[in-house]
Amino acid sequence: MSIFTAHSVAEPSSLSKTIGGIVVATYAVIAILPLVWILLTGFKTPTDSISYPPKIISEPSVEGYVNLFTTRSRQTPEFLASLPPPQTWYERLVRSRNMVIAGPSKVVPRFINSIVIGFGSTFLAVCLGTIAAYAFSRFRVPLADDLLFFILSTRMMPPIAVAIPIYLMFRNLGLTDTKLGMILLYTAVNVSLAVWLLKGFMDEIPREYEEAAMVDGYTRLQAFFKVVLPQATTGIAATAIFCLIFAWNEYAFAVLLTSGDAQTMPPFIPFIIGEGGQDWPAVAAATTLFFLPILLFTILLRRHLLRGITFGAVRK
């Protein structure tokens, strides 16, 4: 490269940069608007949330969050008057709507299910994927390309198409609506992504490192655990986050194979209902809480995003 590179002809003019910036920022603002709207709706009262025309500014309220975490029942004013005064701020809020809190809602167990199934399947998929990727990366496996394509192709199957026999299989094995069943299922779906991504990361670690370690007296296994794994930490972490996001977001299997004990958040959220249809502030509150971890992960993953969404095909 010449010394002119800094001012090369490929550098766009400042006017075209400004125009580009304005257009991109406009798109970004429009694209993010639905998400901002969800965030705002979570802090509206049910009445404000369905007002016509839609209210941009409204009295902030945490009623949506209170409704999300509780089940309530409507009572007569006489009954409410006979009750002792409310103990907590959220009881007071519910009382002001002529209702009493009947108990906690199912959102906490559902959230825990999402966490347990998400982390469980991610852990297994990454463990299996790491060792398989190492084998594909370091040993000459015959038909390796075919085997890798086979692994990838399992992910191309429409979930609903495999759901039928998996449903039957789970029914026979007693795995329907169990966390174990969902963990195994998501592990199987994620292992293909994990193998593909991790093979890319492993290929980038020079063989010489572990060979040097083995010359120094390490066995192959010791070299794998003490030399290769530490080198692959970033790749493993990025892969884990991708697996976690998949399990976190998955809906098709969850809605067909779980109904209660193992239900995760995505099939649960649409069924958060209040009196007369969906309780939109509570749905918005659940959606916001559900999206927050993803927001964090997206920021953490930025450098590896491209690799993850293309199964490692584009590395940059």
Binding site: L256, M265, P270, A284, L306
Partner: protein, 314 residues
């Protein structure tokens, strides 16, 4: 498959110098690949084979004790002559085609602009990426709220710019608009995906090519058609491949946004499959449909991967 792993092990070169104890390389390769392959066999391949078997029967999962009868290719014949299935295929094709066209135009356009590297471009890129990371089901669910006539944000926003009455149209309930509402939400969600891949393509083009073109006094227009587009093409093809496969089997977002309605206007293939399998409980019939869908996706993906290689070689 274990024989494959064994052969894998057998051909692994013996690194005599490094076999100073512990497990041999063969054993390790065997040990490392088998668990993943076994899991995939149990949870992907075994169910696939089972689906193939069921597709030749009249089995109904809600009547497990009824007599099982093999019906040969009847299920396949019924599917191919079923107007509902053809309708679902058309709805799917419409959805796949238009969502890809819009995502390509918007995604490539945005990538071109972001590639100008204006100040703050990486911040805006992250903001744009967000919709793609979210759960399609939850996205579909909250878009039903945004698309409500009157109370929804979308109708009011359209009303603001066009002056139309916000209650005069409804995106989800209208036969003509519903197919476009699923395309719109999909485009909102997945344009960032195409953008990100195109951006990688643009950044892979070395500056000196443009410098050479500048020396030859090629116009910006000419530079775009002769350098930028051909060089980004493999990346664009890759994005098309992934989006086409994903949208062909689209279920979650559409199921929650329109659940196939109104009537069956947005009933894409996966929704038909769910209805046949888990509402009408025609397990045999829906297994055959599942196999047809899988073969279609798989075949398209295969052809496409080969086309992609050809583009890359050029």
């Amino acid at each position: 498959m274990s024989t494959l792993a064994e052969r894998a092990v057998a051909r692994t070169p013996r690194r005599l110098a490094f076999r100073l104890g512990g497990l041999s390389d063969r054993a390790i390769a065997w040990l490392f690949i088998t668990p993943s392959v076994l899991l995939l066999l149990a949870i992907n391949i075994f169910p696939l084979l089972w689906t193939i078997q069921l597709s030749f029967t009249n089995y109904r999962a809600n009547r497990p004790n009824a007599a099982l009868r093999y019906v040969g290719l009847d299920n396949y014949r019924d599917i191919l002559s079923d107007p509902d299935v053809w309708h679902a295929m058309q709805a799917t094709a419409h959805f796949v085609l238009w969502s890809i066209v819009l995502e390509m135009l918007l995604g490539f356009g945005l990538a071109l602009l972001i590639n100008r590297r204006f100040r703050g471009h990486s911040f805006w890129t992250t903001v744009i990426l967000l919709p793609m990371m979210l759960s399609p089901a939850v996205v579909g669910n909250f878009w039903t709220f945004l698309l409500q006539p009157q109370i929804g944000l979308f109708n009011s926003a359209v009303a603001l710019f066009t002056g139309a009455d916000p209650s005069s149209f409804q995106m989800i309930g209208d036969v003509a608009l519903a197919p476009w509402s699923i395309i719109m939400v999909d485009t909102w969600m997945w344009t960032p995906y195409v953008m990100l891949i195109c951006l990688a393509g643009l950044r892979s083009i070395p500056d000196y090519i443009y410098e050479a073109a500048e020396v030859d006094r090629a116009s910006p227009w000419r530079q775009f058609w002769s350098i930028t587009l051909p060089m980004v093409m493999p990346f664009l093809m890759l994005a098309i491949l992934f989006r086409a496969i994903e949208n062909f089997k689209m279920f979650d977002m559409v199921n929650l946004l329109t659940s196939g309605g109104p009537g069956s206007t947005t009933e894409v293939a996966s929704i038909t499959l769910k209805r046949e399998a888990f509402e009408k409980w025609r397990t045999g019939y829906s297994s055959a449909l599942a196999i047809i869908l899988f073969v279609t996706v798989f075949g398209a993906a295969n052809i496409y991967v080969r086309a992609l290689d050809r583009v890359k070689q050029r």
